[in-house]
Symmetry: C2
Subunit: 447 residues, 2 copies
């Protein structure tokens, strides 16, 4: 606790203007004529920049049967273009002393490079090039598919927790792409081909479906000039389809699943509830759920930790998780890892009792104040990281939020009341929209 | 039993040639130049014909977010064409003393009329007309959408068993359209519009995606001449897409759900297992599962009935169901309705014990012989119904089977051995590919 207070004090003194005036990011936004949105986060403490291009497309935008194609294309974007050889992109970045990478999620795919500030133009030149000039050979696509299957093997197939999570998600969603893994189902990845990648690329990779985010030692004027020069000439895709997202029918049946694997060393109970995401202009429910996750399971002073770990020694670990930054309905997740002598059944019963107790007892205003202060503190720390700010805008803008929504979020969190949180908790903690999973060793399953 | 034997004897004497020579349908098949497949089933006992057009498209072929459009279009096919007024189709059929209707399933949509044999040409003229000349107004589409919403309300929303079944199916399938109801999710039906119907119609309604089946008092030569005259001039759709069907990832987690509704008078336990369908040239597993369903739960002499209803009085009803006529992986379903004093938990435990007992004990050859004789008898009865034969070919040809597959099926069933059935049972009765559902009254759920 002392260490945490010390950190807060340090953070507050470093960030005094923000703390005093409320949180305001040093961001500038504008849009190019071709529809490409631009966000600039100034930070002149070091002579470096982070250059990111975020596409408004992720795994949940994939056509049926093509799961994994968003992530596959992300890999293939490091292959040849009309003017660059395969692999040359990252070699150039490295030769300039920088580093680059990319990531794919349900709602977005992003590419970034971190380089010395005077290399920003070069990064834009290369990124704009691969936005339109990608050239794929059958051979390279095949090789990369094997890389991705190996990635899936190591991250998912060899990880019972990941396999369990996939089955949980698939049962949580009846009708929405969030029920399909980002990396893709293995049997569908195995069938992805060059034309699938090109179709996806030609449909979704265009300036009017992208956000450019530059953070670091740069001015908005410099970014605008460079962006207009490099990205400006790329025409908008007039046939860009709207994001087709199916929504869930009423979920009216409490679901359970058990997953047994001989590799499981530590069994646990997982619970997920369908939950609203942050919506543009209406982030209050998501704010309440964000705080609810902290109150319920956000560390050793949380309700679940007190009830399950310290008062009863039912659990060796418990946690609650919610991230509302999603285009569509997301999940509120809870996990309870029982102690050595405690059955999954008893752990689950204790979890349900603890949740009922939370709703009955209501929220201690001191706990709420503490959580709000922690959130404020972490936002203040966040102000220190231009890259963190860039990520925050990138995730927000690709999940249906506006710059104003992203900026309003900290204050909406602070304005959340005890009653908002209890109401949000009652609204989502519905058994009939939940999935309860038991991850078991094969031994337990046979008992 | 006596009554059943009597019926069999009557059936055998009526159908003696088929019985003596094996089952051979009086069918002729050919294909028009535009790709339309034709099946003719001759039956000259009455001067009537059944005229059917089956399209190789059903609810499992719908685009994401458009659930219900196959069934919606089926309704709209009774509206106006360029030369017929809305509703006139059925009026003409009725004026000729006939009757007509249509139906939609996961894999097919079919339209049929039953009329005097000399009206066959008129039926073809009208059916060929609406294959290409449908004209939809916004007003009629809107009216019909309300009809369909009302249909859903009465069949599903007011029927807890149907709602329960929808949630079971959605949990059974992670990645395939069989997890979505044929009639559509209500929230998606509400958004279906004229253009959705026209897109679906223009994509899938074409002679090269259809099978014409005519049964009754007609010769193949007559059908060919009429079909060439009426359907022959319609061009094939060169852009007909392949049937895009996603397949399931490994199902590795036993799932359970409970569904409570105050309208439930009789609670029960339902269990579904993912199961293979009849595949062209490889129908043996499906044949074994067809017989397994009869052995396990096909009436009062079945294993489940004996174990659960008569020996133990656990259940007032039990049944097992399997229909392998599907394009993709289907389900094997079991239901147990417990007695008044028996809990769902106890009923489920008794079901699992009975299944384990079945696998342990193996199959009594006399039981297998009895089931085979029943199947043979019902096939012989079926020979008496030209319409039944027409439906059998229609369902087979729209689910990936050939005429030869349909004809081979009775013999494949008869060739199934005890070992085939036990192997098939062991292969599908896997908890990790199953869903167990409890349909409960609200009262029970709160206990």
């Amino acid at each position: 606790m002392i260490r945490w207070l010390m950190s807060l004090i340090v953070a507050v003194s470093l960030a005094l203007p923000a703390w005093a005036q409320g949180l305001h990011d040093a961001v500038t936004t504008f849009t190019l004529d071709n529809g490409m949105q631009v966000v600039v986060v100034e930070d002149h403490r070091a002579p470096a920049v982070q250059h990111m291009v975020w596409y408004n497309v992720g795994s949940a935008d994939e056509p049926p049967g093509k799961s994994g194609i968003a992530h596959f294309l992300e890999h293939l974007m490091f292959k040849a273009t009309e003017t660059m050889e395969s692999g040359e992109f990252s070699q150039v970045v490295a030769a300039q002393g920088g580093r680059d990478n990319a990531f794919t999620s349900y709602d977005y795919t992003a590419y970034f490079q971190r380089v010395a500030a005077d290399r920003l133009g070069l990064m834009m030149e290369m990124e704009a090039d691969r936005m339109v000039n990608l050239r794929l050979t059958e051979q390279e696509v095949e090789t990369e598919r094997n890389v991705i299957i190996e990635e899936r093997n190591s991250r998912v197939e060899n990880n019972p927790r990941a396999l369990f999570g996939e089955q949980m998600n698939a049962v949580q969603y009846y009708n929405h792409g969030y029920g399909i893994p980002i990396i893709g189902w293995k049997h569908e990845i195995e069938k992805l081909g060059r034309q699938d990648a090109l179709d996806f690329y030609e449909t979704f990779y265009a300036p009017n479906n992208a956000t450019l985010i530059v953070s670091g030692d740069v001015t908005p004027e410099e970014v605008r000039e460079l962006a207009e020069s490099h990205y400006g000439p790329i025409p908008a895709n007039p046939d860009l389809p709207p994001r087709l997202r199916t929504s869930e029918p009423p979920q009216t049946a409490a679901r359970r699943l058990s997953f047994a694997d001989p590799r499981v060393a530590q069994p646990y109970v997982a619970r997920s509830y369908l939950a609203p995401a942050r919506d543009s202009g209406a982030q209050e429910k998501a704010a309440a759920l964000t705080i609810l996750a902290e109150l319920l399971g956000g560390g050793t002073t949380s309700h679940l930790a007190e009830e399950l770990q310290f008062d009863n020694e039912i659990a060796v670990y418990s946690g609650a998780f919610y991230d509302g930054t999603a285009l569509d309905e997301t999940t509120f997740d809870i996990i309870v890892v029982p102690g050595a002598e405690v059955s999954l059944e008893d752990a689950e019963a204790a979890l349900d009792a603890a949740l009922a107790g939370f709703l009955d007892e209501g929220i201690d205003p001191e706990d709420l104040d503490r959580i709000k202060m922690q959130l404020r503190a972490s936002q203040i720390y966040g102000q220190d990281s231009a890259d963190g700010i860039a990520n925050r805008y990138g995730r927000g803008l690709t999940t249906g939020l506006t710059v104003a929504d992203v900026q309003a979020w900290p204050d909406i969190l602070q304005a959340t009341t005890e009653q908002d949180i209890i109401e949000a908790a009652r609204a989502i903690l519905r058994p009939e929209a939940s999935v309860t999973g038991w991850l078991m060793s094969a031994e337990e399953a046979s008992q």
